[in-house]
């Protein structure tokens, strides 16, 4: 009989028993509701073993690839190890810290991490301070991990990175996490990538990954900032659109003077004008949480399927309290 491993528990399944039955019976508080594979309340992740296909029906393709499954439908053919939560952190060495744009610093790290371009990791400083950053690199193009760190005026991690972190320093990283990455299989599908600020980091990596994996359909990238000074990697992306006719790059800013390739206005209105109908599109959204939320709703209402909208909202930590 297959065994479900979960921390110290090793549960041998009875014939017909589901992973949910076994875990609940052993006293693990797995949330659950419909118990028929519809509501997804009991979604878990296998970190070893392959969940049966029947337990992955209705999940996003990116979630399937990461081992997620619905416990109530899981009658596995093989042993599964159910993740307990977060993976253990691994060591990383800083190899470069360079300015990349106004308020954006590029950090390169050497670390043995498997990931998909567009996912994010959590950086852990020795004192326990932790912040999540998206991966801007593509495995196969470069061995190192690359992060685009927006330097916030009161950012405890970001200021430290910009002012003090130097090559040779050691950090720990946890991850990867996140469903915002490219999955091959529909090479002709139009892709729409919309990001604000350093939301560009995962999206440009995702676009390069899609091209590397032979995506032939149009890939449109829209990068929003408050002012044009907030755009970075402009030359690289303009080059990329010249090299790859299927790739289109547009910048927008809330304030400033319009220029070729640069629109002035709110990103939602521009996205609506650029992509009036999104049925059949795959949509990726990264950056400011309010913009991501509004763009997600807008994309869905304009025809994108919920299962084909991938979003990553960058939540910033509240600034430290001011001493009085």
């Amino acid at each position: 009989m297959p065994v479900i491993h979960h921390g110290d528990l090793h549960l041998s399944l009875e014939p017909g028993e589901t992973a949910l039955d076994a875990l609940l019976h052993a006293g693990v508080a797995v949330p659950n509701s419909c118990r028929a594979g519809a509501c997804q309340s009991c979604r878990l992740r296998a970190c070893a073993g392959s969940p049966p296909a029947a337990a992955q029906v209705g999940l996003k393709e990116t979630q399937r690839q990461r081992g997620y499954f619905l416990a109530c439908m899981c009658r596995p053919d093989e042993d599964l190890t159910v993740a307990l939560g977060e993976d253990a952190p691994i060591d990383a060495e800083v190899t470069a810290v360079d300015p990349l744009g106004a308020d954006v610093v590029r950090v390169r790290l050497a670390a043995a991490l498997e990931y998909r371009p567009g996912q994010f990791i959590t950086l852990l400083r020795a004192d326990g301070l932790a912040r999540s950053y998206s991966l801007a690199s593509v495995p196969g193009e470069q061995a190192e991990l690359e992060l685009h760190v927006r330097v916030l005026p009161h950012g405890r991690m970001s200021r430290w990175i910009a002012d003090e972190l130097r090559p040779g320093a050691r950090l720990r990283v946890r991850g990867p996490e996140g469903d915002c990455f490219y999955v091959a299989g529909k090479p002709e599908q139009p892709l729409v990538l919309i990001g604000t600020g350093t939301g560009l980091a995962p999206l440009q990596a995702l676009a390069r990954d899609a091209l590397r994996q032979g995506h032939t359909g149009p890939i449109a990238l829209l990068h929003g900032a408050v002012t044009p000074a907030g755009h970075y990697l402009v030359d690289v992306l303009e080059d990329m659109s010249r090299t790859h006719p299927s790739f289109r790059y547009t910048r927008c800013a809330l304030r400033g003077e319009p220029a070729p390739g640069l629109e002035i206005g709110g990103i939602e209105a521009l996205a609506a004008a650029m992509f009036p109908k999104l049925a059949g599109h795959r949509v990726f959204l990264c950056g400011d949480p309010e913009r991501v939320q509004a763009l997600r709703k807008q994309s869905f209402m304009r025809g994108a399927r919920m299962s084909e909208i991938f979003a990553d909202a960058f939540v910033t930590a509240p600034p430290p309290a001011v001493a009085t």
């Binding site: 419909c34 028929a36 594979g37 509501c39 309340s41 209705g58 939320q293 919920m306 299962s307």
Partner: protein, 127 residues
């Protein structure tokens, strides 16, 4: 008789139906406020559970699940008029999918059967 769930094509058909249904819900001023969470995916998954049940597909919801799952909405003022609106939009969704009126009435009857649990009240005595 086979269930509407099977006739429509099972789980993949529910995916398509949920997208149509959820768009209608979000556009409907009567009820959109009950469905506008930050986590739209979570909302869509819950609705998938509801449609699966209403279409006669596999589900193991209990009355208690229904009460627990909607208690916060009842506190927000969820009442019969909102349940009526949901059933109306469910019917419109099915019409768009080419489902006949007899089947739509059947689905409405299933949805109505959980009305008291959804609204956290005792069943009305039979008239």
């Amino acid at each position: 008789m086979s269930s509407l769930y099977d006739d429509l094509g099972g789980a993949p058909a529910i995916e398509a139906a949920v997208d149509i249904f959820y768009r209608k819900v979000l556009m409907d001023d009567r009820i959109s406020r009950f469905f506008e969470g930050v986590d739209m995916e979570r909302q869509a998954a819950k609705q998938k559970g509801f449609l699966t049940m209403a279409f006669g597909g596999p589900n193991n919801y209990t009355g208690q699940d229904m009460r627990r799952g909607h208690a916060h909405l009842v506190k927000m003022g969820l009442n019969d008029s909102h349940v009526d609106a949901v059933i109306e939009l469910l019917g419109e969704t099915l019409r768009e999918l080419g489902v006949g009126e007899d089947r739509i009435a059947q689905v409405a009857a299933v949805a109505n059967s959980v009305r008291d649990d959804v609204l956290s009240r005792d069943p009305k005595p039979a008239a």
